[in-house]
Symmetry: C2
Subunit: 763 residues, 2 copies
């Protein structure tokens, strides 16, 4: 590729980007797109933009860029959570290190490469891009020490920046914990692998275990239930209600809405209750007397156990409980909204098999993916294509068809295949059995990351046919040499990859093409009412790997082929602005890992650095400069040592919480007298049924809370009530007017098998 | 090698073994060797065998074998600790699995190999050993499924046995914990990385931290001191005393001994106290008033913190304490005798560097070792030798010299080099900074194990020059094939290795050649009095790798070259008897890892199994039997899954203690009222100076205990004494007659800077 070609391509892509950004700044002002571009804010503020037609709406404006840049880190933390801040820090780190690298390499290394060999220099625009890579430097050149020095500077600065970011994020993580002082998940331990007893229910087993071994700190517990008959009825009712609501249109909608915000048990009758068969109440007496819907079958071997202090919960979560490590497995519970309920009742014993199986599965998938890649590479060679698919011969005689098929078809097919990767990895991660949405997404993020690095970087670098790649992999000692040969050559491809795939993905992220299209189809083709289903949480599992891949490309190409760096810096700057905007306006944070994406980013960056250094050793070796190669080796050791230090110094904070902070928080609570209040709220914090959709069944949830809250407060006044029967204290003032039997039936049938189990407090 | 040659070699080695065993059974009856062969029992029972000259002493007898076989596991556990039991179980496992393998392979596989190819079968004694390996089976032979089946049976039985052993040892480990109910180490947490404060001493910092964050369970603490001036004086005094004792002979010895068992402060004057300068007492006032020997400089950033219950100690040991993971690093303390004091004051921050550096160091050592190996391999080729060392030409003309140099010299040099390995690895492990002797030995064991497997197995299998080996290693995909080619060929070498190195090492272990020689030299050449320095603890770091290496050889050769198995079974049977005898009679158990050698043995066995299976896949591939190769692959996956299961099911028990057991023990203590007693003993449990040698300074130790015990009991009666000064409560009845000032000086100067810091108990 010539420089002219690259610049043309860059020009076109910049033009497209500017076009898309302008388009975005117009589209975002259109009222019909407000759900696409301001999903989070709509959900939060429940307001609507004005619907009037004014000219301002059709003039592009950079105001959103200014807003995005002005917003502080604290604002992002408050609106989008710690993970968003971590993502933002990854962008900041990338912008910083690649700006420095760009300056150093473009002004220091690039001229050396260009004037390295006494070749006939043509005019720059028509010079081959390869004259700008290290491939153009003479063997045994004295100037290779500049490359080595620049590599040293970049590595050192990257390490320093990484350290500072790690420190900053660790601090934020601690702050995040101490700020969310009323977070019930800090008091809650998820216990799995509860042994099945023939005589006792799970609930009794849990109670007797924790009263025996953690009597001083144990507060209460709540067994998780398998979604069985009742949940099916509930979800069936939900579906019917949804359809009902949709077909009746706005009238039903408006009639229903006020009712849904009232407690269903406070006397108000709603549509949803009419959906339940009237004989359901009579039937529901049966399970309480214990026969068909016998609880131990429906319970699963896991429970939420609440403790009096955060520290006590942490201790129980971290300590091996019994001599069988597969039983009474404890871990800090995820937050209520983060729990992935359908994995909660997987037997703990299965999990290691699932882990191993999905690991094997994703490795197999990674390698199977080579097959379409090879096939596509075959497509670019016209002769092969004609041989394989003879019927195409007629079509391929036309020139524009040839161009289309060889030029666009391969990349389109590749892109389609690539789009299947994140959902597949997400599926693998789901099968793995994580108990929280955030864990699932994090696990998928790692899988996609490995996949991307393998399939975009290594397969392209070690290109050729798929089989020759596997052979190349089988001789690790030759890999530095092979990489050293291949990376400068492939740098052109990577540069165009940044220009096209990188910038295009940013534009499409900003434009929310999928959302726009979907809204268009719904409104003008299907003629459906808009609903609020467009609220997504940020797709970390696709965006983090993307950004880290570009970081990898940047590091590996930096010294060897510096032409990529300016484009990369532009990508990161643009990404910085766009992603901030998206966090503020589009995505809704439903769950948070608490900054656990940072160790992934850190490890990947260290990997990129070491890969770069190894490749440089190989390149210096190829250039017969043993001094430069020798000087680079200590850098590898230094980078590894730095990583080891970070693992010791910061990583533990991302695996657990420090006792000191939790104890301090506990003490503060005690001094402010907020403990009792917190404990009462705990009982209802992990209510399992139903989800917090805005449909009338919400009422059951509230009723459950009422029942529970009253149960707790009522308990202190009636200690003699030590019966084993499910508690049905319904002393809440709002419920006073209702007959207890009806309430009880309603709670049992809908709120279902959930019964809060409370421990008798010792007096 | 021919079968006849092998049988001759076996005959000679068996004869030698019988000779050595008989010799041992005579030598052990000689009174002058009693310290060599009954070191442990002498140390324990303080008795001497009769010195009379009777004929029985010179008749070999198998009584020791019977005794060794009759002794139960409980006896071994009681006399030699859990590690010895683990070692014994490794032997039992090996005997079982290789007996089965020997039966299966000798009767099932061996005939198939022998009749595999239509070659001219000569008479068996002169048949080449290679006709018994799988190399003799025809390509595409239908009988390869027998090999595959036998491999399946061996792998499955090995896994089942491994599982049972793991379970058994895990149970023993728990039993070991619950039996040692008064073990102070269960109540003690070793805290490292205590932050240095300008205003407070370490002791005050520790106290304020634990009173703040673990007030309800914290009992007291004891800061570890750097061995400074005082310790030098103490060890100097020890040395002088030792020499003094040696030169004065028995008279001084007998005069001293009774005194040493009395408390030095009870009025009895001993020799040792005369060694102290008389003006020492006056000098020793100075440090207390705080100047030259100012405490904060001598203290190191680590302390033993005592807790009220075992569970509390476990919790503090497991939880991350503060937001800086390099500070307030807690771990359960090793037992008093196990502590490696000189590593205790290494700054915790250094440890990760030390770990990485020693890791790198041992890898470099492993590869550097190839140089002498290559050199020695060169020695076996006479022409090369003559070329390199021309002056040898004259000598080499004589035939017996040639045989000597080519036959024995290489193995002698190799053995000498091999003898340097365990001390070197021990040195590396010491530099790594472990805080206990057992940890150090375990770490050395792992290093020696990797070294042995690499240098004996892989280097021999992939033999040739050292450089070609490294190249062979660099292409992992070819390794199964290379191994498949090499292992059957090298099986002959391994068989003779078992015969010579294995059996010889057992004989030399039994004979205690080093001890015998040393005693002979001492008595008849140096004419020194015997002393009790011959008490060694069992060298797990050399014996465990040896046994595991033979296991590896057995598994890898089993199906491919079954001739090795009968010899191996004999080795393990003999080893079983001999090691049991050694545990019972010779070695003294000073410290114990609590069964932590088992996971090492388990992992190595799994590694051996998988290596065997991979090699078999290679061999089946070479024999062009894709069915057999294909059937072996699931076996590899099954073995990996089994290992994963064991890691989940049993390994956690070897990393921590289960809360349930500790809480049960705590409750038992409370119910039996033994808690107070235990707490009082805790204060003196980790007394730092001096060691428990049987020299007069023992007295100081006792005094320290007295002082401390009285301090604790006295404290409850005098709560108003909250002064910051070092406590010198000397209300023990035995000390009543002495002037306090003298006692105080003595304690300060000798027992030195150790001051028990007790917490004021809240009333």
């Amino acid at each position: 590729m010539k420089v002219g070609g690259l610049l043309t391509s860059a020009g076109i892509n910049i033009g497209l980007c500017v076009l898309f950004l302008s388009l975005y700044s117009i589209l975002r002002k259109q009222p019909q797109n407000v759900k696409v571009y301001f999903g989070r804010r709509i959900a939060e503020e429940n307001n609507r933009l004005r619907d009037a037609f004014i000219l301002e709406r059709f003039v592009p404006s950079p105001s959103w860029i200014v807003k995005s840049l002005r917003c502080t880190e604290d604002e992002i933390l408050a609106t989008a959570g710690l993970d968003a801040v971590v993502f933002n820090r990854i962008m900041v780190f990338s912008v910083r290190i690649f700006s420095l690298a760009a300056i150093l390499c473009v002004f220091g290394v690039l001229p050396l490469n260009y004037f390295g060999q006494n070749m006939d220099h043509v005019r720059i625009p028509s010079a081959s891009l390869e004259t700008f890579t290290i491939g153009n430097v003479q063997e045994r050149s004295r100037w290779l020490w500049v490359h080595c020095l620049v590599l040293y500077i970049i590595s050192t600065v990257a390490c320093v920046l990484l350290y500072l970011e790690y420190k900053h994020i660790a601090r934020l993580r601690l702050l995040h914990i101490s700020r969310s002082s009323s977070n019930p998940s800090h008091f809650t331990v998820l216990v799995r692998g509860i042994p099945k007893s023939r005589t006792e229910s799970f609930s009794r087993t849990v109670e007797s275990f924790f009263t025996k071994y953690h009597a001083s700190t144990y507060l209460s517990h709540q067994v998780a239930y398998k979604v069985g008959k009742v949940q099916k009825i509930v979800s069936g009712a939900k579906k019917v209600y949804r359809k009902f609501k949709h077909f009746k249109g706005t009238t039903v909608d408006q009639r229903c809405r006020p009712i849904t915000f009232q407690c269903c048990f406070c006397g108000a009758s709603s549509n949803s209750f009419q959906l339940l068969p009237s004989d359901f109440e009579q039937e529901s007496e049966t399970p309480v007397n214990g026969s068909s819907l016998s609880l131990p079958d429906e319970e699963c071997g896991s429970a939420f156990v609440f403790f009096k202090t955060r520290y006590a919960a942490l201790v129980v979560a971290q300590i091996l409980q019994t001599s069988n490590p597969m039983r009474w497995v404890t871990s800090l519970a995820p937050e209520r909204d983060d729990i992935y309920w359908s994995n909660l009742w997987l037997p703990y014993k299965q999990l290691w098999i699932r882990h191993t199986a999905t690991l094997l599965g994703s490795i197999v998938f990674m390698f199977l993916f080579l097959i379409p890649v090879t096939f596509i590479q075959g497509l670019t060679q016209l002769e092969q294509l004609q041989q394989r698919l003879p019927f195409l011969r007629g079509i391929l005689k036309k020139k524009y068809m040839t161009q289309l098929i060889t030029g666009y078809l391969p990349s389109v097919i590749l892109q389609i295949f690539l789009y299947t990767v994140p959902p597949t990895m997400m599926l693998f991660s789901t099968l793995e059995g994580p108990i929280s949405h955030s864990e699932r997404k994090k696990s998928a993020c790692c899988k996609v990351l490995y996949f991307t690095i393998w399939n975009v970087f290594f397969v392209n670098v070690l290109s050729g046919s798929a089989i020759s790649q596997v052979i190349a992999l089988s001789s690790p000692r030759d890999i530095p040499m092979q990489l050293a040969k291949a990376v400068p050559v492939q740098a052109t491809f990577f540069t165009t990859y940044v220009l096209t795939s990188g910038w295009a993905s940013l534009s499409s992220e900003l434009m929310q093409l999928f959302g726009l299209t979907w809204i268009f189809i719904r409104r003008y083709l299907l003629r459906m009412k808009e609903d609020s289903d467009l609220l997504y949480s940020f797709p970390y599992h696709t965006e983090v790997p993307k950004v880290l891949l570009f970081g990898l490309l940047g590091f590996t190409c930096s010294v060897l082929a510096p032409m990529i760096l300016p484009f990369l810096v532009l990508y990161f700057c643009l990404g910085y602005v766009i992603y901030r905007n998206q966090f503020l306006n589009v995505y809704c944070t439903k769950y948070d890992t608490g900054g656990l994406y940072w160790p992934i980013a850190h490890n990947t960056t260290i990997f990129s650095l070491i890969l770069t250094q190894v490749i440089c050793v190989g390149v210096f070796g190829l250039k017969k400069s043993p001094v430069a190669a020798g000087f680079t080796v200590p850098l590898i050791i230094f980078t590894l040592l730095f990583n080891q230090y970070c693992r010791k110094r910061h990583l533990p904070l991302f695996k657990t919480f420090p006792a000191q902070n939790l104890i301090d928080m506990d003490k503060e609570d005690q001094q402010s007298g907020g403990t009792e209040d917190l404990h009462q709220r705990l009982h209802s914090a992990y209510f399992q049924f139903p989800d917090t959709d805005d449909i009338p069944l919400e009422g059951v949830h509230t009723a459950g809370r009422h029942e529970d809250g009253s149960g707790t407060s009522g308990e202190s006044s009636r200690e003699e009530n030590t019966a084993d029967e499910p508690k049905s204290d319904l002393s809440h003032p709002a419920l006073d007017g209702l007959p207890v039997s009806r309430l009880r039936n309603a709670v049992i049938s809908l709120g279902s098998i959930w019964r809060p189990q409370k421990r008798e407090l010792p007096l």
